[in-house]
């Protein structure tokens, strides 16, 4: 069953012990598209990425990645599938004991028998793509956060993946770097036809970048649509999120006894 969807999810549930993280997720990510999964911190976005990457198993529901059912996939097939996936971690996750060059060359060395000269050329090419050929001999600890993330991006695309997953690619970057990373994601997509899944809570940057958006709140998809539809959405949750309002359906306060009760001493024991 070959479809044009890179990832297909239907009725997916995931729970940690007895805590439900994801509830009844339905999603369809076409090949070659850029899709954003948005929501507050802790709403289960990263869990969703880990499920797609096969690092977690769904509790129930269907999850198909590149035609492979992730519920029944063998570990060999999973490893084969992962060679065609790339993932950019939030803080880069560069191997701290290897140089920048070795980080990017890592997968080629592990998975291919390419001659050293070819590995060198390919690695420098990937580093050039993120504009960091000049730092190839530095250790990751010598890089700034933004540079580390670009190196991590070069490493993630080392084997030209068919699916790229980005975990909070914009967090903690200054606006210029944000633009740089966004441009890189777009270039990759058009040059290699890669399917991109971006998990983020940076609304404005991603709305400019992506084809389709899913909003996740407390483990449920509450809204979806193209960027224009999202901007025009009247749903209070989406509106609050997109326009960054402080109070709305998502309360500013963590549930607690009211200040008044506290001050009159009526509920001291509940402290």
């Amino acid at each position: 069953m070959e479809s044009d969807a890179a990832v297909e999810i239907s009725g997916l549930n995931f729970r940690y012990g007895d805590r439900a993280i994801l509830k009844g997720i339905n999603m369809r990510i076409p090949r070659g598209s850029i899709v954003a999964i948005m929501g507050q911190s802790g709403c289960g976005k990263t869990t969703l990425l880990r499920l797609i990457g096969g690092q977690l198993q769904p509790t129930d529901g269907r999850l198909v990645v590149e035609g492979q059912d992730m519920n029944t996939i063998s570990s060999d097939a999973l490893y084969k599938l992962r060679r065609r996936m790339g993932m950019l971690f939030q803080f880069g996750a560069l191997f701290t004991d290897l140089t920048v060059f070795e980080n990017v060359a890592f997968q080629m060395r592990e998975h291919t028998d390419l001659p050293e000269s070819l590995i060198k050329d390919l690695t420098l090419l990937k580093l050039e793509a993120v504009g960091l050929r000049g730092v190839r001999n530095k250790m990751p600890s010598e890089l700034s956060g933004g540079m580390a993330r670009r190196v991590a991006l070069a490493r993630a695309i080392a084997l030209d993946p068919m699916i790229m997953m980005y975990d909070e690619p914009f967090t903690g970057l200054d606006p210029i770097l944000m633009g740089v990373i966004a441009q890189l994601i777009r270039d990759l997509n058009s040059a290699l036809g890669t399917t991109s899944i971006i998990v983020t809570h940076d609304v404005q940057e991603s709305l400019r970048l992506v084809d389709y958006v899913y909003f996740v709140s407390e483990g449920v998809i509450v809204a979806e649509g193209t960027p224009d539809e999202i901007r025009a959405s009247k749903l209070p949750y989406v509106h609050q999120f997109v326009w960054g309002e402080m109070d709305g359906p998502v309360p500013f306060h963590y549930p607690a006894p009211s200040m008044q009760q506290l001050l009159t001493g009526n509920s001291l024991h509940s402290w």
């Binding site: 990457g53 690092q55 490893y79 084969k80 992962r82 060679r83 996936m85 790339g86 993932m87 971690f89 939030q90 803080f91 996750a93 560069l94 191997f95 701290t96 004991d97 890592f106 997968q107 592990e110 998975h111």
Partner: protein, 263 residues
């Protein structure tokens, strides 16, 4: 009163259960490591690197401690043996205590706090910074690529370090007893030579240290791999490595000694 007693008993019960499940978890992890050990030997350069980090970098502390332990043994042994008029036997005392007990145990304790803690901290930090996750996503098994070489590097280093510890210890005893106090050099060596049995003392001592190495490295890798991915998680895991490996060394030493003396 009865309630208090009950609570105490409950806490003892849960502690013993924790201990047993902890040992079980380490053992399962050891089996997993062994299962994916192919990489450590097919790409031996990975293991060589870890021998450098756990073995070569522990050399200084091992050699210096060995020298001092040997010197103290020489001094104490001489003082005690002199009262029986057999100060020439000081060599025997130094060599036997080092090969049978102090060498394997002290070098293992030092190794646990020097290299074991470093292994835990490194693997724990790799986990906390998602490096292990990243590796998994690159279709590389972190147990084969990260845990295996560190485990084997440590296991290989341990007996080598112990042999060096015992060697420098004997030299330390020689320095004190022969060079400084003036015990006859010939008697020192010949009595030692006659009393120390190669298979019974030296090889058994190294066998002990090999077992200690297995215990330390499986505890250290397990603690690193299962550490909570936070700063406190890693520091807690590092402490646990040192504490539980030290206890494991002492407990295993008792068991092994009992078997070796019997056999």
């Amino acid at each position: 009163m009865l309630n208090k007693l009950r609570r105490e008993l409950e806490s003892i019960g849960s502690l013993s259960l924790d201990l047993i499940s902890g040992i079980g978890a380490v053992f399962v992890f050891l089996l997993l490591t062994l299962r994916y050990s192919g990489t450590s030997f097919q790409r031996f350069s990975l293991t060589i690197r870890e021998i450098f980090y756990s073995g070569v970098l522990s050399l200084i502390i091992i050699l210096v401690s060995g020298l001092f332990v040997g010197m103290v043994l020489g001094l104490q042994g001489y003082e005690t043996l002199q009262t029986y008029g057999s100060s020439e036997s000081v060599g025997v005392l130094v060599a036997l205590s080092l090969t049978r007990e102090l060498g394997p145990v002290v070098s293992a304790l030092l190794f646990a706090s020097r290299a074991g803690s470093a292994i835990t901290a490194e693997i724990g930090l790799m986990k906390a910074t998602e490096q292990l996750s990243a590796m998994e996503m690159m279709a590389i098994n972190p147990i084969a690529r990260v845990v295996g070489p560190r485990f084997w590097g440590g296991v290989i280093s341990m007996p080598i370090l112990t042999a060096m510890f015992i060697g420098t210890g004997v030299l330390g005893g020689y320095i004190i007893a022969v060079l400084l106090i003036g015990v006859d050099s010939g008697a020192f060596w010949s009595q030692m030579n006659a009393a120390v049995d190669v298979s019974h003392d030296v090889l058994n001592g190294l066998l002990k240290s090999f077992v200690f190495g297995l215990a330390i490295c499986s505890i250290a890798t397990y603690q690193g791999y299962s550490a909570a991915p936070t700063a406190e998680g890693v520091s807690g895991a590092t402490t646990r490595t040192v504490v539980s490996s030290s206890l494991a060394i002492l407990a295993l030493d008792l068991v092994l000694t009992a078997f070796m003396l019997k056999g």
